[in-house]
């Protein structure tokens, strides 16, 4: 289902989803060629959650994200050149190369601190929410994390605090393992979480919690809009679990792109290698969204192909700019660690 928004907004969502997809796909060959090192995580397969969800926020709201942050930053309008430069450890990056893929922050977009420690941001998000409530500035906080974060003690401690003090925070859990190993055995959501469904955990702390299909942009948009409105009214924290299907390229330790995405795959996946074809046929939120746009006559195939091509060219250019950005001077390492 498409989000109930104007056509321009629908097309803008489409554009942002392509930005994320092409950006993420272009990182893999850069890493494989050694242009950057270190571990990194991609947001492919979750675009229909992040893009509509973050569109529901105000410009001055706070967001916290994790090691899987690129998609959230781009959905919120981050500059792909500066994001890519940061991931490559370059001087022109958002954090001058001090943060990297794990820690990119863009305070002007509401991202104050990005933690790659699983669940590290969940208590922090209660803190910005606490500050907003104390300062009565009407801002809410959205805390984006994966299902694994619920396994850390930080999560329930933060749920308890947020619930007791009725803090304006939305915990948005993106579960990208809908068909994970544990689920297949008919037991818990994953093989390492006894609470099932995951919403049982926040509910134990009286935090209203619900599940939503993270592949369905319309349901995500409607659900998040309502939650954001209620939270902003002062009704306290909420928890939403958005379920997506893990992109096959993220199944190994290091991302692998077996198929570069283009809009035509929405109608014909025969070009996709057989072992990942099913994901592109039925679980790829970008392609689902693309088909829905055409079926609802909000865009033609040609219009979407044009968006796709334009975004691809922009990302290619962003990568080029980032690669040509200089490294920071080594002595910068010993500067700026105190205010």
């Amino acid at each position: 289902m498409l989000p109930k928004v104007a056509r321009d907004t629908l097309l803008d969502f489409c554009r942002r989803m392509f930005v994320i997809r092409h950006f993420e796909e272009s990182l893999v060959p850069l890493h494989d060629k050694g242009v950057f090192g270190g571990h990194y995580h991609l947001y492919i397969g979750q675009e229909a959650t992040g893009v509509p969800a973050l569109s529901c926020l105000r410009a001055d709201d706070y967001l916290f994200t994790t090691h899987r942050n690129h998609g959230h930053l781009l959905a919120r309008g981050a500059d792909p050149k500066k994001l890519c430069a940061e991931i490559l450890g370059r001087a022109d990056g958002y954090n001058k190369g001090k943060g990297g893929s794990f820690h990119t922050v863009v305070p002007s977009l509401g991202f104050l601190h990005t933690s790659a420690v699983v669940a590290g941001i969940i208590p922090l998000a209660t803190g910005t929410a606490y500050a907003s409530k104390a300062l009565k500035n009407g801002r809410i906080t959205v805390c984006l994390f994966g299902d694994g974060a619920l396994e850390e003690g930080a999560a329930p401690e933060a749920f308890n605090l947020a619930s007791l003090w009725k803090l304006p925070v939305l915990f948005l859990c993106e579960n990208n393992g809908k068909y994970g190993a544990g689920r297949a055995t008919g037991a818990a959501q994953s093989s390492t979480m006894a609470a099932h469904p995951l919403t049982d955990l926040p509910k134990a702390y009286k935090v209203p919690a619900q599940q939503v299909d993270g592949l369905d942009s319309g349901t995500v948009h409607a659900t998040i809009s309502r939650a954001v409105e209620e939270i902003r009214r002062g009704e306290g924290p909420q928890f939403i679990e958005a379920q997506t299907v893990r992109w096959p390229g993220s199944e190994s330790n290091w991302p692998v792109v077996l198929q570069n995405t283009n809009a035509s795959l929405a109608w014909d996946v025969n070009a996709v290698p057989e072992k990942v074809r099913e994901w592109y046929r039925s679980c790829d939120p970008l392609l689902i969204y693309t088909r829905e746009l055409v079926e609802a006559q909000q865009a033609t195939r040609e219009e979407i192909a044009a968006i796709d091509r334009k975004v691809k060219a922009e990302i290619d250019e962003a990568v080029k700019v980032a690669v040509s950005s200089p490294y920071p001077k080594p002595e910068e390492a010993a500067k700026d660690y105190f205010a």
Binding site: K98, H103, P107, S115, G120, P123, G127, E157, L161
Partner: protein, 323 residues
Amino acid sequence: MRELAYYEAKFEALHEIMAADERVHLINGTFLSLSPHRHVFQDLVKKYGDRMKSPPISELGFCGLATGAAMAGLRPIVDISTGSFIFEGWPQVCNEAANAFSMSAGQTRVPVVFHLFHGLRGGGAAQHSASPQAMLWNNPGLEIVLPSSPRDVKGLLKTAVASDNPTIFVDHVQLLEIRGEVPDNDSPIRFGQAEIKRKGNDVTVISTSYMVQRCLQVADKLAGEKISVEVVDPRTLVPFDMATLMSSVEKTGRVVIVDETHQSCGVAAEIAARIVESGFDKLKAPVRRVATLDVPVPYSPPLEEYIGPREDRIIEAIRAVLR
């Protein structure tokens, strides 16, 4: 000049801080540990209760909450209370608060204060007697403050709250009853400014927190033997005032460091290394450390006393460097 008890000076500071800045919120604790003087805390609650919060027993949660609140414009002071409890909030203090400014290339400031009581408190046993400041000193991104007198606790607390960096305020319950002069118009004490707590010529005794008080008593005793002890208190570990220390070392050439962290990789070890690196030629004798023995803190009074920087160990170390 008027004289105040340490706890009175500390609460005078809290009153002035709360009155001066509405962004200051107090999270958890009473800033008094098990002290009987609860009335001073209640006076604060009466005036500023709306900015004082009692969270659940949830150090990981509320250390993170305070850190996040600091990122978003408040200036929270967290009372972790017993120093050992910081281990429950360690990931938020050491891995989030301490790193945020650097990871963001200076874009995100974290003006939070984590207050705790460290050290041998009398019967604290192994799990309530930690002095985590040495571990924290090994974790860049945190300012570390250790007051040792009524005047210092007031002036340093004000600077801690005004600082835009995460600051660990390391207090000691044995200091709460100490009395000392506190000027009426006390101004903040700048970080990175050591103080010569007692002038002397024969030996430089560097000590922190409650150990400063013990060293002053030792200096009094030894004065009777015509041994002139200079007591130097760094007051902050981060930033660290090397210049004041070295001018004393240049004068005496003999150094004893007295500190309550455990001996290995402790505060005394780091200070000794710095002195040896920058002033080996000024030394007339090897530097001596008097620190807590490298064992978990035992409960029974004679056992607890035995492992700490006892007066007799301090005196023995001073005599050794004078030989």
